[in-house]
């Protein structure tokens, strides 16, 4: 059983760190660094989980999330959102947009792994 | 930045000091006002002189005549000077106004 995660992050170093962590956990990791065609990439990759950065070139993570929740087959897709802005307002916006889990950078590696595990477990249980 | 400051047009604030010429002019008309007071004072001085009752001690008439006429001539002289100054002022006014 292959677990696939799609990582949408424009900072190459952060993307590399997360890829390293999740690969060691047995995840298949695909990355994408752009906001505009992110939704199309999500649809075509059909991942089990998406890790989404907020500040992306072209289109912000919030908008991608909102568009994504509009689509019937992606309504329940677990989305872990990462942001470096760390303001309360961003968290509220993300929750209103239908985020599954919201995390502020910098995070500890353990936190990310725990979050990914939990989200996946919830998704498979339901 | 009060409202009143905003509404006041720039540069029309009345200047504190008059230019030299109009200052002179004002002092000149002050002088014209003082002149009759000076005259009245000069002509009032004879009132302080003793009368002729105390035999022989009074002011001699020739001295009195001299005093009155000298004062009179002085007032005429000052008035003459002021008359010329006023004429100069008037002609200056005319030339000042012409360019408008």
């Amino acid at each position: 059983m292959s677990r696939k995660v799609l990582l949408i992050e424009d900072e190459p170093n952060i993307a590399e760190a997360i890829r390293f962590l999740l690969t060691r956990e047995g995840w298949q990791v695909e990355t994408h660094a752009e906001g505009l065609d992110a939704l199309r990439v999500i649809q075509s990759a059909d991942p089990d989980l998406v890790i989404l950065d907020v500040m992306l070139p072209g289109k912000s993570g919030m908008e991608i999330l909102r568009d994504l929740r509009e689509l019937e087959d992606l309504k329940t897709l677990p989305v872990l959102m990462l942001t470096a802005r760390g303001q309360l307002r961003d968290r509220e916006m993300a929750e209103n947009a239908g985020v599954s889990r919201f995390m502020t950078k910098p995070f500890s590696n353990a936190e990310v792994l725990t979050a990914v595990r939990d989200l996946h477990a919830q998704a498979t249980r339901s | 930045m009060s409202i009143s400051e905003d509404r006041r047009p720039q540069g029309v604030r009345p200047s504190l000091f008059l230019e030299r010429q109009s200052y002179r002019r004002r002092r000149l008309s002050d002088a014209a006002r003082f002149l009759p007071i000076l005259g009245a004072a000069l002509f009032a001085i004879p009132l302080l002189w003793p009368g002729s009752d105390e035999a022989g001690d009074g002011i001699r008439l020739s001295s009195a005549i001299l005093y009155i006429f000298v004062c009179w001539a002085v007032l005429i002289g000052i008035s003459l000077v002021f008359g010329f100054a006023a004429r100069r002022m008037a002609t200056q006014d005319e030339t000042d106004q012409r360019p408008d």
């Binding site: 952060i14 070139p57 950078k105 910098p106 995070f107 | 409202i3 005259g39 001699r60 008035s79």
Partner: protein
């Protein structure tokens, strides 16, 4: 031997000469060649009608009796003349701008054109003038009698001679003063004749004086000795009389109808006062110069009991110098005739204008005012008035017996005329003076003058001795010459003191208690502020009613919009040929109704009446009153203004609040961006350091790589903090600039090598080094920082296959312009305005820096007095840097 007949011939010849002069002057003026007749000299000489026969003969008599006291009647006018700047100038300006015809007209005009007041002043002037004319008759008769005594052959009878003198003078005055009815009441001929007479009388008096001093006394020194040793040889002047007479003569100099006539009515140019201010006092000085010597010599030479009033004649006669005596007689005759002519003219104008004409018009039932024979009636009225005035003088002379000394009769007249002074001065300088005040004051002063001075002095025929002794009905405190128990005063001083002080008090109190009519207030403002209203004296031509004037006035009262609407409607009603309606009676009636809604019926009526009636009120004055009555409206509009200001303040507060909110949002945004830029490298550092800590079995390559990432991200963090600090220092303005001088070329050299150092990507930099030899004086390090930033941006973001950066420099008018253009893809127009903002990133751009570089560049260039802009149209991204050649110049 000069017989009486010769004397009469000389007199007639002199009169013919005067008439000829007057006629010639009138002809000249009519032909427009009489400009020299209106010179200051003629004006000054005409003022000398102040010196009548009273002063000509009486001054010597007065000196012989009281020493220097005579000089008071010259000192008063001197003081008035030297204060012309704030006194006479105003009087003349008012008189000319109001086109007044007499002192009665002036007073009446000031107090709301009250004819009652005019009649009062006229009666006062006639009563005051009558003794004066009697005085002239007396002096001429006396001088005749001197020659009659010397001529035993003549058949001289005093009684008939007075009558003939009076009749002759009346004819003379009628011929001179009423030959024609001049619209402006100015008489060039008369003024010229008077000027001639002034010269004659001065010449005569000086001649007698010189004869006395050098011909009789034997020179100046002996003369002075003789003066001191004479019976009047010591200063002996009563202080009360001295002060009173100086004051009285000053007051009369302005109030006497004849003085007012020559000084104000006949004045052709206000500037003449400048000359008269010193020339007339000089004339007076010369007139009085030899008075005391003549008196002293007369007292010495002539037998005891000789009339000192005639020393001017008798001294030359006694020395056998008959021609000098004849000249002196002519001088006295001149004084008397000129005075009588002008007085009669002035009084007749007043009588005809204020007494006869109103009565005549009312008997005509208004028909006379439009028919053509008004002029004829006026002339006739004046001629009859002159005759009546002369007759009064004659009867006064007969009744008073001609016994009183000349000087005391003169002072009685003076005291009467001076009652006008409070109303005149108050009217000119006090806006609160009212018609009621003037009437009450005049009446009080007038009655007191008659009661305390005129009647007692006229003798038994008018007031019985018992009243003078015991007071009326035995009331001692009402004794005419000891009013309220103040006894032992000189009668004239006593009368002047009581009449003038009570006159003034009554005038002030009644003015304060009464309320003036609109027209009165209008005239009051116009008189008191005459220098504000009239820049120059207006002409005397008739005032033409103008619809435009009405329009202006209406706008002031109703406001521009309603006034224009009203006039437009009226114009259309009249047929609408022009934009302004004709001032027809119907239109005026409607306009008045319209205006009365704003300012009240009376004011509206007066204002329109003034404009259309063609009287002397100017539009400016009407507007002044319109402004005054608009003060209430202004008050309410001030309230509106205040509420508008409140609204404005509220709006400004709202704006300020919005601004604060925006600033707060910007601050939040900035903090969010700073947070993002800090957290991003920290995320990488934390993640890889945890990986390296927690992961066993990392290959050495992996360890090296992850450590390098940590290192790079740490450097990025440091750079960001440096930029932030730099920007905050620049933005706060606390930056210290290190000024230095160098050429642009070496600054660019250093910047290029520093930007490209340690970089492998090869961007080609093209420069034109010869154009870069421009000396600069600025902060070279900061400028270099800007250049480095631009070069490394090009190096970082240029996406061309063979990246080329072109740097070109030129000197444009005191500024160096340096362009940085590369061949990469340009910045889209919508992003260009954003590139200099903090944390701005062009889309798709990979974050190499924190996005603060260009923001810092912009701040630096502002500090250096230059600017950095995006330069469009270069095919690729291009930036232009402008920097002043010398910092200091640009900063100023």
């Amino acid at each position: 031997m000069a017989t009486l007949n010769v004397l009469i011939l000389v007199c007639l010849g002199y009169v013919v000469l005067l008439f000829g002069v007057a006629f010639a002057a009138d002809r000249l003026a009519a032909a427009g060649r009489g400009a020299w007749l209106r010179s200051p000299l003629f004006y000054t000489l005409s003022l000398s009608i102040y010196c009548t026969a009273w002063t000509f003969y009486g001054a010597v008599g007065n000196a012989a009796r009281s020493g220097l006291e005579f000089v008071t009647i010259y000192l008063g006018p001197t003081l008035v003349m030297i204060s012309w700047w704030w006194g006479l100038r105003k009087l003349v300006r008012v008189g000319r701008s109001q086109r007044v015809t007499s002192i009665a007209d002036l007073i009446s005009s000031r107090y709301g054109k009250s004819n009652t007041l005019a009649i009062c002043v006229t009666v006062l002037a006639v009563l005051g003038g009558t003794p004066y004319i009697a005085l002239q008759l007396q002096s001429i008769t006396l001088s005749f009698s001197i020659f009659a005594e010397a001529d035993p052959t003549g058949l001289y009878r005093e009684g008939s001679s007075v009558f003939w003198v009076a009749a002759g003078l009346a004819v003379f005055a009628i011929l001179f003063g009423t030959r024609n009815l001049d619209a402006n009441e100015r008489h060039h001929g008369v003024v010229t004749a008077i000027a001639l007479e002034s010269v004659v009388k001065l010449f005569a008096l000086l001649a007698v004086g010189i004869f006395v001093v050098w011909g009789v006394a034997g020179g100046l020194g002996p003369m002075l000795d003789q003066i001191d040793s004479s019976e009047i040889g010591q200063w002996n002047v009563d202080a009360g009389r001295w002060t009173t007479f100086v004051f009285l003569s000053a007051a009369c100099f302005v109030c006497l109808p004849r003085m007012f006539q020559v000084m104000v009515v006949e004045n052709s140019d206000e500037a003449h006062l400048r000359t008269a201010a010193w020339a007339f006092p000089l004339y007076l000085l010369l007139m009085s110069l030899f008075v005391v010597p003549i008196a002293v010599v007369g007292l010495d030479l002539l037998p005891e009991g000789s009339n000192p009033d005639l020393f001017v004649l008798t001294v030359p006669l006694s020395q056998g110098n008959e021609w000098l005596a004849m000249l002196s007689f002519i001088g006295g005759f001149s004084s008397a005739t000129s005075m009588v002519i002008v007085t009669a003219m002035a009084l007749s104008t007043m009588v005809s204008n204020h007494v006869v004409m109103p009565i005549w018009l009312s008997t005509q039932g208004g028909a006379g005012s439009v028919s053509g024979d008004v002029r004829h009636v006026v002339l006739m009225a004046r001629r009859i008035s002159i005759a009546v005035v002369m007759a009064l003088g004659f009867f006064y002379y007969r009744l008073s017996g001609g016994g009183a000394a000349l000087a005391s009769i003169g002072f009685i007249a003076f005291a009467g005329i001076s009652q006008i002074l409070p109303a005149l001065v108050g009217g000119l300088f006090w806006r609160g003076a009212t018609r009621t005040g003037a009437l009450v004051g005049l009446t009080v002063g007038f009655v007191l003058w008659i009661y305390t001075l005129l009647l007692p002095e006229m003798g038994g025929g008018f007031m019985s001795g018992t009243i003078i002794q015991n007071g009326p009905f035995g009331l001692e405190w009402l004794r005419p010459q000891a009013l309220f128990g103040i006894e032992d005063m000189d009668p004239i001083v006593h009368s002047v003191m009581w009449s003038l002080s009570l006159n003034t008090v009554a005038f002030c109190v009644a003015s304060l208690l009464s309320f003036p009519s609109p027209l009165e207030r209008l005239q009051g403002a116009q008189f008191v502020n005459v220098f504000d209203h009239s820049v120059a004296p207006r002409g005397w031509s008739g005032f033409v009613a103008q619809s435009e004037d009405l329009m202006i006035m209406t706008q002031r009262i109703l406001g521009a919009g309603p006034a224009q609407d009203f006039f437009q409607a009226e114009s259309e009603r009249q047929g609408g040929r022009s934009s302004l309606p004709e001032p027809t009676p119907a239109f005026l009636e409607r306009l008045e109704r319209e205006l009365s809604g704003s300012v009240g019926a009376a004011t509206a009526h007066a204002m329109i009446g003034q404009i259309v009636g063609g009287s002397s009120v100017s539009v400016e004055d009407l507007l002044a009153v319109a402004d005054e009555s608009a003060q209430l409206l202004e008050y309410s509009s001030q309230l509106e203004t205040k509420s508008a200001e409140l609204t404005r303040t509220a709006r400004q507060l709202r704006d300020a609040n919005t601004k604060l909110t925006q600033i707060s949002e910007q601050k939040d945004n900035f903090l969010g961006q700073v947070s993002h830029e800090l957290r991003t490298p920290m995320t990488s550092i934390r993640a890889f350091s945890e990986i390296m800590r927690d992961t066993d079995g990392l290959s050495p390559e992996e360890q090296t790589r992850y450590a390098a990432i940590i290192h790079d991200e740490a450097l990025r963090l440091t750079r960001l903090l440096d930029d932030l600090l730099d920007l905050s220092v620049l933005e706060s303005g606390r930056v210290n600039l290190n000024m230095g001088g160098d050429t642009l070329r070496s600054v660019l050299d250093r910047a290029v090598s520093s930007a490209l150092a340690g970089s492998s990507s090869g961007i080609e930099v093209r420069r034109s080094k010869s154009a870069e030899r421009i000396p600069l004086h600025t902060d070279l390090d900061r400028l270099g920082q800007v250049f480095i930033n631009l070069i490394s941006n090009a190096q970082k973001y240029c996406d061309a296959d063979e990246p080329v950066l072109t740097i070109s420099a030129h000197d444009v008018g005191g500024q160096v312009v340096v362009d940085f253009a590369d061949n990469g893809s340009g910045i889209p127009p919508e992003a260009r305005s954003m590139v200099f903002e903090k944390f701005a990133r062009v889309s798709g751009e990979k974050a190499g820096g924190a996005g603060l570089g260009l923001a810092i560049c912009r701040e630096i260039m502002q500090r250096l007095g230059g600017e950095i802009t995006y330069l469009p149209g270069q095919g690729g991204p291009a930036f232009r840097v402008r920097v002043p050649l010398a910092y200091r110049q640009a900063a100023q």
